[in-house]
């Protein structure tokens, strides 16, 4: 793969610009959030070409944005954010990705590391057993005929209605775990067939469950509002998405868009950027189906949350109330949303694509839970299995610069093949255990692909997001046990 050698101008220590003069057809500049340390890696691949390509899309406003964890994706870069005017702009399934509403949630607990460590092996075994994970796994949830449509409309609320979790969980989930405007008649039979047996499964790849410990708190007041009280406090992460249902929705609608683009006179530099006007019948159908997939993913994380809680309480011999197992927040990483933003001093309705990026709304925004009204939306940034993860808060600066968006994770450094050449699954397992991190994984080669060394240090990514002001560091956690899908 050749190095990227396009036009790039340094704006300040955290911002680089691709001027629209780089390629005829770019409607706006590209803006990349990074620093001198991470930039060389970004230039080794074609991620910035993808940022430039996204700038071609009709109706794009502001910049074609790249968050600090940017890496080479398909069509859009991973870590890409692009906002299009609803009035005359487009929606692109490639700008959301195949794993619609892949996302992460974190639960707090009242327990500290010393209470959990003696039982950590039993605990992670219990979680591994309770949540079907890995390739080929089937869920324990049996849906009656047609019930999948209820899941697609109600999302987390369907799960809570079935006894998976409680209604407080809905308040601390982005969109309350139930995106409005979901229409199951826009989801193909194939998508529903794929999704039905997989509900309540983690999946594979970078999906995981993690028992973590708070190891640093940066903003005491904000952390307290989020229920993060002390160093050593135990936290639980769930990271997964919409499984085969979301993948099929993306497949189906990329095809629809490729067929429809000529009708709307749209040309794109990469077929994976296929798009149609937001207001078109095809655009509205995609959004209605995408919201169904998003709701499925929230229902999925909600069911998994319930099993993780049960396993935790059983092993620790404690009630859910005493354990204080409250959901801090649940964020989505792969989504397109219709939001109001200020563009050139005027409020506009935009279709904001976040592809491997997290919403980062500030204090006072009407769309964030009331308990976070004064501190900003919690943002959860999982790192790799061996190092750290971060909890951040949304800022006003993100609203001004990035349509209320920030990074979503560490971002890969090595290809999967390179990671497997560097270390076997067994080596990775041994080195993590030596660090005191218990691992349970369905597949050893899969584990090797997810080795910590294959990822950037999430600390570098977060330093840029914090330094640029598009989110604020609140706390950091370290894993003590991980289930890898």
């Amino acid at each position: 793969m050749p190095k990227w050698s396009g036009k790039l101008e340094k704006v300040d220590d955290f911002r680089w610009r691709i001027p629209k003069s780089y390629k005829p057809g770019m409607r706006v500049d590209g803006l990349i959030y990074t620093d001198e340390g991470m930039l060389p890696h970004i230039l080794e691949e074609q991620a910035l070409e993808q940022v430039a390509n996204v700038a071609f899309l009709p109706g794009i406003v502001g910049y074609s944005l790249a968050m600090p964890d940017i890496h080479w994706g398909y069509g859009f870069a991973i870590g890409g954010v692009a906002a299009m005017r609803v009035s005359d702009g487009v929606v692109s399934p490639g700008g959301v990705g195949f794993d619609i509403n892949c996302g992460v949630r974190i639960m707090r607990t009242n327990l500290v590391k010393e209470e959990v460590t003696p039982k950590i092996k039993t605990l992670i075994d219990a979680i591994f057993y309770a949540v079907p994970s890995g390739l080929g796994s089937k869920g324990a949830i049996k849906l009656r005929s047609g019930e999948i449509d209820e899941v697609l409309i109600k999302g987390s609320r369907w799960a809570v209605g079935k006894g998976y979790g409680n209604k407080e969980d809905l308040e601390t989930t982005e969109e309350n775990g139930e995106m409005k405007g979901a229409d199951p008649s826009r989801v193909s039979g194939r998508a529903k067939e794929r999704g039905t047996p997989q509900l309540g499964t983690l999946g594979s790849g970078n999906h995981f469950l993690e028992v973590a410990v708070v190891d640093e708190i940066y903003e005491t007041e904000i952390a307290e509002a989020m229920g993060i009280e002390r160093v050593g406090q135990v936290m639980l992460y769930v990271h997964c998405g919409s499984r085969g249902l979301g993948h099929q929705v993306a497949d189906d609608y990329i095809k629809v868009m490729l067929q429809s683009m000529p009708k709307y006179g749209i040309q794109v530099p990469d077929r994976q950027l296929a798009c149609v006007p937001v207001k078109s019948q095809e655009g509205q159908a995609y959004l209605a189906a995408m919201r169904c997939a998003a709701n499925y993913a929230w229902a999925n994380r909600q069911c998994i949350t319930h099993w993780v809680r049960e396993a935790f309480c059983r092993v620790m011999g404690i009630s859910e109330r005493d354990a204080g197992l409250e959901l801090i927040y649940d964020v989505t990483h792969n989504i397109a949303k219709i939001e109001d933003h200020t563009v050139n001093g005027k409020i506009e309705k935009l279709c904001v694509h976040r592809k491997g990026a997290t919403r980062a709304f500030p204090a006072g925004h009407p769309d964030i839970p009331k308990q976070y009204a004064s501190v900003g939306q919690p943002i959860l940034i999982p790192g790799d299995m061996g190092r750290t993860s971060y909890i951040l808060a949304g800022t006003e600066k993100a609203m001004q610069e990035t349509f209320g968006s920030t990074c979503h994770g560490a971002g890969r450094l090595q290809s999967r093949a390179a990671a497997k050449r560097a270390a076997s699954g067994r080596d990775v397992l041994a080195s993590l255990e030596a660090k005191g991190i218990q691992i349970r994984a369905g597949s050893l080669p899969g584990l090797a692909e997810e080795a910590p060394e294959a990822y950037k240090d999430v600390g570098d990514v977060v330093r840029v997001a914090h330094g640029a002001g598009i989110s604020k560091k609140v706390a950091r956690t370290r894993p003590i046990a991980v289930v890898k899908g």
Binding site: M1, E45, H71, W72, G73, Y74, G75, I78, G94, G97, F98, D99, G134, L135, G136, R190, E193, R194, P197, Q198, G203, S204, G205, G244, H247, Q248, A250, D251, I254, K255, L258, Q259, D270, R271, Q272, A274, R412, L413, Q414, S415, R416, A417, A418, G442, S443, P445, G446, E449, G485
Partner: protein, 136 residues
């Protein structure tokens, strides 16, 4: 002749597949895809599914061919290893695909594939070579 080779991609994974003709390259792309997913030596040829696809062009045909096989893997858990393409045209394909339902006691699954993508997707009619990047 090499049936396929892997293409490294930072977050994802891809392959280039070759054949005596384009149909052969399509069959080898499917074989390569299931080689990423599972150890195929352990898989018997006991289940068969007929797949028929009609698309506007060869690129969409490749995308749909691979994603249809992933659909069968998701819904019926069939790991395919043999692909007999009986009819093949610019936008048309009919194939009998053989493999076995996943059995955790005998099969080893490796890497999950979410979907084939259009990114860098190529169908080279002159060289009977196809290329695809997967979202994994």
């Amino acid at each position: 002749m090499k049936r396929y080779e892997l293409i490294e991609h930072t977050a994802d994974m891809g392959l280039a597949a070759y054949g005596k003709d384009l149909a052969g390259a399509f069959a080898n792309a499917a074989y390569g895809m299931f080689s990423i997913i599972a150890e195929l030596e352990e898989v018997k040829e006991v289940e068969s599914r007929r797949i028929e696809i009609n698309e506007d062009d060869a690129e969409s045909l490749l995308f749909e061919w691979l994603n249809s096989l992933l659909y069968y893997f998701d819904v019926e858990t069939i790991i395919f290893k043999k692909f007999d393409i009986m009819e093949f045209g610019e936008g048309h394909l009919k194939a009998d695909c053989c493999g076995e339902k996943y059995d955790a006691s005998r099969h080893h699954l490796k890497t999950g594939i979410k979907s084939a993508t259009y990114h860098m997707l190529e169908v080279d009619r002159a060289k009977n070579r196809v290329q695809v990047i997967f979202d994994v």
